[in-house]
């Protein structure tokens, strides 16, 4: 199996920050690599370098057999990029945007048009296809931008947070589309904040922080690395979240994470099922109605938080409470 992406020692410095501090990445053909990391970790910078938008200060990178520095044009012929922020032309229609991209990949007039219609269909934009993008919602723009990356059916794809701003349905559709592409042999580098997404799609995961790798492996390997079992409880009433937290605090061996929207609480425990039973009894005694409960292995979220723990800790301290962190994350998700 040949490597479609191969980067070594990538360094990119800005005046005050080092965005990449010697990053190595290897993605074999047909593999999906998930690049994970907290805000400012250097994900976009890495994608920009590999897609020839940015020149690294140090290091080499080969994409689809071409050197990004020496032969960027050859690289561009073989890649599709969808950046973190949708880059679509407001005044053109969705169709015109895709048609233009096809023409610029030199697909020819007929082929470009066909492909544009095809992709509008795939991304559920057929109806809106002939309206100016100005009239699109954020998620529609996002989908159009993703379609733009696929116009030339490139063998290597870079998707920078592809599902940010998508509703769950579109997200699941996108995952299906991505799986189909990979089945056809595409190689994909995907950055994401949704760890579930990496779990679903990525064969291989690299977690970076401060511009370098801090963990590498499959989702399972990373989860095992973090270890520990957890109780996950969903309470029926939002008013019960705080009392439930008090109950679980007695059993927890670490920070309890709370998702207020889904009324979910996650507490790391030691002791397995007996502890779970005990906790349930306690919850019941306090009149807390439990909607869903389980004893679970760590998710990638846990991996992420434990690996990039220093970020979490800083935020926890500055917020003066241990349960604040997940809330913060949620807000970010919403505002993005």
């Amino acid at each position: 199996m040949t490597n479609m992406i191969e980067a070594s020692g990538l360094v990119k410095r800005y005046k005050e920050v080092t965005a990449l501090a010697g990053l190595d990445l290897v993605v074999p053909e047909g593999v999906v690599l998930g690049l994970l990391g907290p805000n400012g970790a250097g994900k976009t910078t890495a994608v920009s370098i590999l897609s020839t938008l940015l020149e690294p200060d140090e290091g080499q990178a080969m994409v689809a057999g071409a050197d990004v520095r020496k032969d960027p044009k050859a690289v561009r012929r073989l890649i599709g990029l969808s950046g973190q922020y949708a880059a679509v032309d407001e005044h053109l229609t969705g169709f015109e945007n895709l048609d233009m991209i096809g023409r610029l990949y030199h697909l020819g007039k007929t082929k470009s048009r066909e492909r544009a219609r095809e992709l509008l269909e795939v991304f559920d934009l057929t109806e809106a296809g002939d309206r100016p993008v100005k009239t699109y919602s954020g998620g529609m723009r996002r989908r159009l931008d993703l379609a733009g990356a696929l116009v030339a059916k490139p063998p290597v794809l870079f998707l920078d947070e592809p599902s940010s701003g998508l509703d769950p349905r579109s997200r699941v559709d996108l995952w299906d589309t991505i799986r189909d592409l990979v089945k056809e042999g595409a190689t994909l580098l995907l950055t994401t904040q949704y760890l579930e997404e990496a779990d679903q799609l990525a064969d291989d995961i690299v977690v970076i922080d401060h511009g370098h790798e801090i963990a590498h492996g499959t989702a399972d390997e990373l989860k095992t690395q973090v270890g520990g079992e957890r109780i996950e409880v969903t309470v029926a009433d939002v008013m019960h979240v705080t009392p439930a937290e008090e109950v679980l605090a007695a059993f927890a061996v670490g920070d309890i994470r709370i998702d207020h929207h889904s009324r979910g609480l996650t507490a790391p425990i030691a002791g397995g099922a007996p502890v779970l039973t005990q906790a349930l009894r306690e919850l019941d005694a306090r009149g807390i109605v439990v909607q869903d409960v389980g004893l679970r292995r760590p998710t990638l979220d846990d991996v992420f938080l434990s690996l990039t723990g220093h970020v979490a800790e800083e935020e926890v301290e500055s917020n003066g409470g241990r349960s604040k962190k997940p809330k913060e994350e949620e807000l970010e998700e919403v505002s993005r």
């Binding site: 020839t52 561009r76 950046g83 922020y85 880059a87 032309d89 053109l92 233009m100 023409r103 610029l104």
Partner: protein, 271 residues
Amino acid sequence: MSQLMTALGDGAVVAKRNVIKIKRVPEILVFVLLSPIMFVLLFAFVFGGAIDVATGAPPEVYREFLIAGILAQTVIFGATFTGAGLADDMQKGIIDRFRSLPMARSAVLVGRTSSDVIYNGISVAIMALTGLLVGWAIRTSFLEAALGFGLLLLFAYAFSWVMAYVGLLVPSVEVINNASFMVIFPITFVSNAFVPLETLPAPLQTFAEWNPVSSLTQAVRELFGNIPPGAPEPTAWPLQNPIVYTLIWIIIIMVIFVPISIRQYRRAARR
């Protein structure tokens, strides 16, 4: 397909995109057109009586003298659009999208400068019509007049490469607009566009004589037959040979700004 054909093809694709924008946002045109009309009316009727283009000439003579100057000024202002358009594309990340595509490096700039010729063409046409209403007339042959308009648009095209460079350098539409005014006001006002050169103080007069805006204006005035009767013969070489001198400037501008703009485009994202 040869490389040049590809480059031209890509440029055409980008130009088409910009033209679609002109169609979809006609409001922009309104402002493009209003300001030159306003200038014609202001100068013709406010300053017209105060500025003597030839001893004892009536105000109509000034109006005729004025139109060539305003046409020159209009195409120079038109170039601001090129800069603003590119800055806008940079801000919206569209340039990043283009830069990830296997298209010719020149295409975005070639496309932008070419489509802006349309803006310039339209504003020149509207200006000419306004001019006709206030008493301007072309007193030469069709061919000479066509040559006059051609020279205006050619200069506009060259100058839009200057603004393209500025637009990529300062990728913010607001800054572009302000920066352009700082360049455009001196070069259009310290010239023969609105006043006869003889009225300027000596150092400014020398600058104005060698200013390509003056030679462009002079060339257009000659080609339209709008040199006021009894106006003194120009003494500086650029104004004695305004067409040649303007063409030399067009070539110089293109030779310098086409390559440096394209270079700036390549590193555009490295802000």
